[in-house]
């Protein structure tokens, strides 16, 4: 319990919190400049999210993939890798789960798990391409993973067009009912919002993230490599293997996220004209969450609320949806620019030091 309290009063928690507030304030200033009422805007944002069961359910739907991609980025970060490729791993996970969902005919208890595992493995392998290139050739993973995003996007469209899209359509065939992971009764309860088991899997993934990194030997190695690869090597750890492993597990998270979007939300895969964007938002989620599992979940909730509620802002206060991107971008900016935020945090920290300890 003490540990939980410590988490909430630590600087690593205060900095994002202040950054979020500053971000919201910046957004408010932008709204004022545009002649909108920021209080009304934020109120209608909250009303959109919490106003009725349907929208609340859809917000959870929006949050789920962000947890996965956030975990993906955060995991790699712990091993000192910057995984910009969550987007691509997410897409590859979509392809694999669509392929399994459409082309196999199995009983439900094995079909759905198999489709998710396929997504996880595909995402993991996609991630480990960047990991392998880094380990074997020293290629910067930022470059390779960002390029692999585009490869994944066009690969997805090609695979879909070549094998799964009926002519005259813009999407694959429906996956079989046995592969669908939508929770029917919960969906009905939330006024047919698209809720699915993926949310539970996301929370389990966050726990898995914690256990593997902090409770196992290989997790210790992964973190050690992240903190100081040279020292780790000197201590007898295989740095290269850990790099590939980190990218594989990171990719797995994103891949499951993609699989859950297909199996739980869409039930088919559309031809994409642009990246779905969850991977990029995952970077920000990981950053705000301080690369910790709890932080990532909280960050994803924040991002989910902001992006889904943006439509409410438009509806209730006439604020263009792009403005929420200003808020998000400023939150990221303030998290990244610790220095500015610390000016605000310092007095609080000082007080606490005098009081406690």
């Amino acid at each position: 319990m003490n540990r939980v309290i410590a988490v909430f009063t630590k600087e690593s928690f205060l900095v994002p919190l202040v950054a979020i507030i500053l971000g919201l304030l910046t957004g408010a200033i932008a709204m004022l400049a545009g002649g909108f009422n920021p209080i009304k805007a934020y109120m209608s944002l909250l009303e959109k999210v919490f106003g009725n069961a349907y929208n609340f359910g859809e917000t959870i739907r929006q949050i789920t993939p962000l947890i996965f991609t956030g975990l993906s980025v955060a995991f790699a970060f712990r091993t000192g890798l910057f995984n910009i490729g969550a987007e691509g791993q997410f897409i590859v996970g979509m392809i694999a789960s669509t392929a399994v969902g459409v082309s196999l005919d199995l009983p439900a208890y094995i079909h759905a798990p198999l489709a998710i595992i396929a997504g996880a493995v595909a995402g993991g392998l996609w991630g480990s391409i960047a990991g392998y290139l880094k380990a074997a050739r020293g290629v910067n993973e930022v470059i390779t993973s960002i390029m692999l995003n585009w490869v994944a996007l066009y690969l997805a469209n090609w695979v879909m067009n070549a094998f799964f899209v009926p002519s005259g359509q813009q999407r694959s065939e429906m996956i079989h009912d046995s592969a669908i992971i939508t929770i029917g009764w919960l969906s009905t309860m939330f006024d047919s919002a698209r809720l699915h088991w993926g949310t539970l899997i996301a929370v389990l993934a966050a726990i898995f993230f914690y256990v593997i990194l902090w409770k196992t030997k290989s997790g210790y190695e992964l973190r050690a490599v992240g903190l100081n690869p040279h020292a780790s090597e000197y201590a007898g750890m295989n740095v290269n293997r850990n790099v590939v492993k980190a990218m594989f597990i990171g990719g797995m998270f994103a891949g499951i996220g993609g699989a859950c979007e297909i199996l739980g939300v869409f039930h088919y895969q559309a031809i994409m004209t642009a990246q779905p964007g969850y991977g990029f938002d995952g970077i920000a989620v990981a950053l705000i969450g301080g690369n910790t599992p709890l932080g990532v979940v909280l960050g994803a909730i924040l991002f989910g609320i902001l992006t889904f509620g943006a439509a409410g802002m438009k509806f209730g206060a006439g604020v263009p949806v792009e403005l929420i991107r200003v808020v998000i971008a400023s939150v990221i900016f303030f998290v990244a620019a610790h220095g500015i935020v610390k000016i605000f945090v310092k007095p609080i920290m000082k007080k606490k030091k005098e009081g406690g300890n």
Partner: protein, 351 residues
């Protein structure tokens, strides 16, 4: 060092996100009807019907059919003196947004909800089936539900006329077609255009490229650059915002003295990009369709079903400003072909 780098790249990334958001937004249009947006808020004894619209990812400033649809609604608002809040739109930022956005209007008991674009078809069907008492309408997609009116256009007929103009005006005997995504709607543009070109002069070559996106002006520019490089002097685009890049490339080349042209799409694009590069535009009267169907609703004449608008219904056609760059005799020929299509003497291929 690594930390600094990563922080820097994240900052750069977030900045680029913001910039990307701005980049795809073309400057405001100096167009007549745009002014009506806020003017008609006077209220009075006007009907209190509420009409909403959900755009696809292009948004209402896409210089293309989303914008055209929104202008249709704005015109309706001005004409009928509807209160300001009685028309509204929601922009979708990804596929996942279509259903919640449509549902927002439907659950809020708006009288009519528009879905704009082929890609929204399945999603609109889902919402329509779940809310049988709501009325919806969609542009460019066939949705088979009793409470949905689907409006489709015979783009192939209008594009045929654009093809006639291109074949007559090309000096290099080569013309180009830039498509957005290869979907049935855009396919109709392509086939109609090609048929028009070949009807006038079978020896004219038609280069065809699908860019795979409706919102990538950079891709449009590079594609146009390649096509002009291969000898095309007129490009017909059917690619939404991607086409902005085609116009930009044409402008650059025009400035260097090359004689190149673009044929615009959906709206009269000479109003946005200027007469010096816009040969003509294949106008698709989305605004007219939105206006008419919405008006039908107000008059109590709304009926579900599928409606096709072609040359005969004035749903498609060349822009009225075409005579600035297209000579009289070519326009005359265009009119002859138009009559033949309307009478059914020519059947333009669509598949």
């Amino acid at each position: 060092m690594k930390k600094v780098l990563s922080v820097l790249s994240v900052t750069a990334l977030s900045l680029s996100l913001v910039l990307a958001g701005c980049g795809s937004k073309p400057e405001a249009q100096p167009q007549g009807q745009a002014g009506g947006a806020t003017g008609g808020a006077a209220g009075g004894a006007a009907p209190t019907v509420k009409i909403g619209m959900v755009t696809d990812v292009g948004g209402v400033n896409d210089n293309s059919f989303n914008q055209s649809a929104w202008e249709g609604l704005q015109k309706l608002q001005t004409d009928l003196n509807l209160p300001k809040d009685n028309i509204n739109y929601l922009q979708s930022t990804s596929d996942a947004d279509y259903v919640p956005n449509l549902t927002q209007f439907v659950k809020d008991k708006w009288d009519l909800t528009w879905g704009i674009g082929f890609l929204m078809g399945d999603h609109l069907k889902k919402v329509a089936d779940e809310n049988k008492d709501a009325k919806l309408a969609i542009i460019d997609a066939e949705v088979d539900a009793p409470n949905v009116e689907s409006v489709l256009f015979k783009e192939h007929e209008g594009s045929f006329l654009a093809g006639v103009v291109a074949a007559k005006m090309t000096k290099t005997k080569t013309v180009g077609f830039v498509g957005g995504v290869e979907i049935p709607v855009i396919k109709r543009f392509e086939l109609g255009f090609e048929a028009g070109v070949k009807a006038v002069d079978p020896s004219v070559k038609v280069l065809k490229v699908y860019t795979g996106a409706f919102d990538k002006p950079d891709l449009g520019k590079s594609t146009a650059s390649q096509m002009y490089g291969q000898g095309a002097d007129i490009i017909f685009h059917a690619s939404g915002g991607t086409g902005d890049g085609v116009f930009n490339e044409a402008k650059d080349r025009k400035a260097k003295g090359e004689n190149v042209w673009v044929i615009g799409v959906d709206k009269d694009q000479s109003l946005t990009f200027g007469d010096e590069v816009t040969l003509t535009s294949m106008v698709k009267r989305v605004d007219e369709a939105v206006y008419r169907v919405s008006k039908d609703l107000i008059d109590g004449k709304f009926q579900g079903g599928i409606k096709w608008l072609g040359l005969a219904e004035d749903g498609v056609g060349l822009a009225s400003t075409s005579n600035k760059n297209v000579p009289e005799d070519v326009l005359k020929l265009v009119d002859e072909y138009k009559q033949k299509i309307v009478k059914g003497e020519i059947t333009v291929p669509e598949k």
